[in-house]
Amino acid sequence: MLWLWILIGVVVLLGLFVVLGYNRLVRLRNEVDTGWANIDVQLQRRADLIPNLVETVRAYATHERTVFDEVTRARTELQRAGTPGTAAEANEGLTTAIGRLFAVAEAYPELKASESFLSLQDDLTDTEDKISAARRYYNATVMRFNTGVQSFPWLLVAKPLGFREREFFSAQGDTSLPQVSFATGAARDA
């Protein structure tokens, strides 16, 4: 009789553990999804600015075909990217291409002084800042989720329930990944 009770107790505890672990991981995964949606919005906004930018530059600099093609190709690449890793690579590629476009623009004083070019440039800078802000949040959520998936005891439920580690939004050789979480450390001090 005693054994039966112990058995029931163990089963209940195990069930509780699975439920708690599952809820925790779902919560962390939702944060990652929200974080990714934030990046996606800004990447889309950046991609949307490109056609306009190319048209504006083309109006002054008609003979720079190769640069236009390169920027357009980089944009398509970004829109086609399916995973955070490839999107980050494509985003880097677009940055390089846009850099080249701006270098070309240097040679055309009228273009550089034009109202629409200046405002496009401003919008692009703003979008880039927002991408890097969204990336900080996203990478922090990925960090928390991955830690959740990898650490004991949750790793016992993570694999069977289908929680897989997520990819950081970072190009190769990127060193700006989040440092340790400060929040918990300082909270203890307080």
Binding site: A133, A134, T141, A183, A186
Partner: protein, 318 residues
């Protein structure tokens, strides 16, 4: 703790604080009933409820009025608006808080609003005039993390309750002191009631202050995490501490909202002898806050602050 866990623990804490305040209110109403009259006790509670609800509903504009924060069109302060947007994105807020400007030469900032979607960040012109971009961003991140952690919600509730309690205690005290005829009960009860009326506001203050000190450390840490740059927050705090000016419309009722306490400095100079007074400080000492950041980030702040053009001057905002 993950962010969601922090928010939940803050909600729990809010519940406990509200419970503490309700308990305090009940004790006050009990004292009024014992020392004066049952009808007065009911009246006091009813009045407290109405006043409390009104103050909560109107808190956003009440606080804006108390701090003299002006609404401003986003286009008029576009660069500042963008910084707030970026910080909010990095914090994972769904809606970017509004920006309001306080015409004051002392550098300071605060956040207010019951819900994150309806919050705003108040920034003094002095802050724009003294802070370079990196440090301004840190201050904004500090405020945004107050909003994200639901500190603004918690502190608004605490402010309203503290106000109600101070009011009832004051009225009760006067009723006993001057309303000779309505007095009831023995001498002992009267003495206890008077003591209660005197001490209740301090108890409320203590509840409120102990809360806000802890929240400051959390918001500093949150800002460091949002920007991935704990040094920026520490530098900003150092610059705030070095600036001797305090804001004009500093009031005890809103002191706990600001990033740097507008009243503690004055208080600690006035009552420096009593170590006890630090219990009533709304903010931990700046040195303690900087040290916490230094420890978490593993760096030492340089002796001299880096010179740099302030954000306000750079972007022509002031």
């Amino acid at each position: 703790m993950t962010l969601q866990e922090q928010i939940r623990s803050n909600r729990l804490r809010s519940g406990l604080v509200v419970f503490g305040f309700v308990l305090l209110l009940a004790v006050l109403a009990g004292l009024v009933t014992l020392a004066l009259d049952i009808s007065l006790g009911v009246l006091a509670l009813g009045f407290a409820a109405i006043y409390g609800v009104f103050a909560l509903v109107r808190s956003r504009s009440l606080i804006a009025g108390l701090t003299h924060a002006q609404e401003i069109a986003p286009e008029a302060v576009k660069p500042l608006r963008r910084l707030v947007e970026n910080v909010s994105i990095a914090a994972g807020l769904a809606v970017t808080p509004e920006v309001r400007i306080v015409e004051d030469s002392a550098p300071n900032a605060y956040a207010a609003g019951l819900r994150p979607e309806k919050s705003y960040v108040g920034v003094t012109t002095g802050l724009l005039a003294t802070m370079p971009q990196r440090e301004l961003e840190a201050v904004l991140a500090h405020e945004v993390s107050h909003i994200r952690n639901r500190d603004t919600y918690l502190m608004t509730i605490a402010t309203v309750f503290a106000g109600v309690i101070a009011l009832i205690a004051d009225v009760g005290f006067r009723a006993i002191a001057y309303g000779g005829r309505s007095r009831r009960g023995g001498a002992l009860i009267i003495v206890v009631a008077i003591l209660g009326f005197i001490l209740a506001p301090y108890a409320a203050l203590l509840l409120r202050m102990s809360l806000s000190r802890r929240r400051e450390f959390l918001a500093d840490a949150g800002a460091a995490e949002i920007l991935n740059d704990p040094e920026a927050m520490a530098l900003a705090l150092r610059r705030l501490a070095q600036n001797p000016s305090t804001i004009r419309y500093a009031e005890a009722s809103t002191a706990h909202l600001w990033v740097e306490s507008p009243t503690d400095r004055v208080d600690s100079q006035r009552r420096g002898v009593l170590a006890l007074t630090s219990w009533f400080n709304t903010h931990p000492a700046m040195d303690a806050r900087i040290a916490a950041l230094e420890e978490a980030g593993g760096f030492r702040l340089p002796e001299t602050l880096p010179a740099g053009e302030s954000f306000g001057v750079e972007h022509d905002l002031i």
